[in-house]
């Protein structure tokens, strides 16, 4: 991995952590787990530009660091976030890689839904009650909006080609 790429990834991680922390300050309006998903912008961008493994590293780092920063690490909320983040990333990668007919908006929406589902799955496991899925329709409707917002921002960033330009700069100096 080139130094430039490593630097870029580190910046992405820092950005994801910062966005994750900001997100934790926003109340979820009585729907448990309903958040704007700012950090998912970074993950989606990483999936598009760097691939699955790099995005996985960023995601893992983000979850751990946000947990540490907000003081919720290894509590129930942490496990729910981690599961949501993992499932969301996997679903988005599958959509990007195999479901070519979906645009970035569809990828983001399904990723958001998967995030909700992952959180509820862990909730079910910890609480032992399938009643947690009662919240899914409400979370899913919020995910429609947040998924669109995330996709919109990432789409705009993609059009500027900022990551490609930064990496190209790495390629031209790494020979």
């Amino acid at each position: 991995m080139s130094v430039r790429k490593m630097t870029l990834l580190s910046m992405m991680l820092a950005l994801a952590v910062a966005l994750g922390w900001v997100e934790s300050l926003i109340p979820s309006f009585w729907i448990p787990g309903a958040k704007p998903g700012f950090a998912n912008m970074v993950i989606l961008l990483c999936l598009l530009e760097f691939g699955f493994l790099d995005a996985l590293l960023i995601n893992l780092g983000r979850v751990l660091l946000v947990g540490a920063v907000t003081g919720t690490i290894f509590q129930m909320g942490f496990y729910m976030s981690a599961a949501g983040a993992a499932l969301s990333m996997i679903v988005m990668w599958v959509c990007i890689r195999f479901l070519k007919k979906l645009t970035i908006y569809g990828d983001s929406l399904l990723g958001a839904l998967a995030h909700d589902f992952g959180q509820l799955l862990v909730g079910w496991g910890i609480l032992g009650n399938a009643g947690v899925f009662y919240y899914f329709p409400y979370m899913a409707l919020v995910s429609l909006a947040t998924g669109f917002f995330v996709a919109f921002v990432v789409d705009r960033l993609e059009r500027t080609g900022i990551i490609k330009k930064a990496l190209k700069g790495a390629a031209s100096t790494s020979s």
Partner: protein, 140 residues
């Protein structure tokens, strides 16, 4: 006008599957919300679970006077309110207060969950009775 129509057509062509996904979410979850909205409030029994174990069962259909009681959640005390066919978490020490904001619930599809305290209040409709026990064991 023609250009606008072409733009709309292009939009739908590019985002067909995205719109399918959005519509599916709206229809599926809309149906779920309608399902929740249908009242199922007669003859309800509430079971209170703490860390997966049932700690109290209350036949809400037989409650005539409102009352409250406290239970110890994993981290804080919770005050539960009970009235005819309805139950609520009135007070909790959890940080998010989702459980408190749900207020009284009486629909069997709607649980009250305090994930912080790992307490779940689950409602179920009374099941059909298939057996009866008659007491008859005093001395002769």
């Amino acid at each position: 006008m023609g250009a606008k129509l072409d733009a709309v057509k292009h939009f739908f062509k590019v985002h067909t599957w995205d719109l399918v996904a959005v519509l599916a979410v709206l229809v599926g979850n809309g149906a779920a919300l309608i399902y929740y909205a249908v009242p199922r409030t007669t003859n309800v029994t509430a079971t209170i679970y703490k860390e997966k174990e049932a700690v109290k069962v209350i036949d809400l259909s037989q409650v005539t006077n409102e009352y409250t009681f406290d239970i110890e959640g994993k981290y804080t005390t919770m005050t539960i309110g009970v009235k005819h066919n309805a139950i609520a978490v009135l007070k909790s020490g959890c940080p998010n207060q989702y459980c408190v904001h749900q207020n009284y619930v009486s629909n069997v599809t709607q649980p009250i969950i305090c994930s912080y305290n790992q307490v779940v209040i689950s409602l179920s409709a009374n099941a059909p009775v298939t057996s009866i026990i008659i007491n008859g064991d005093a001395s002769v």
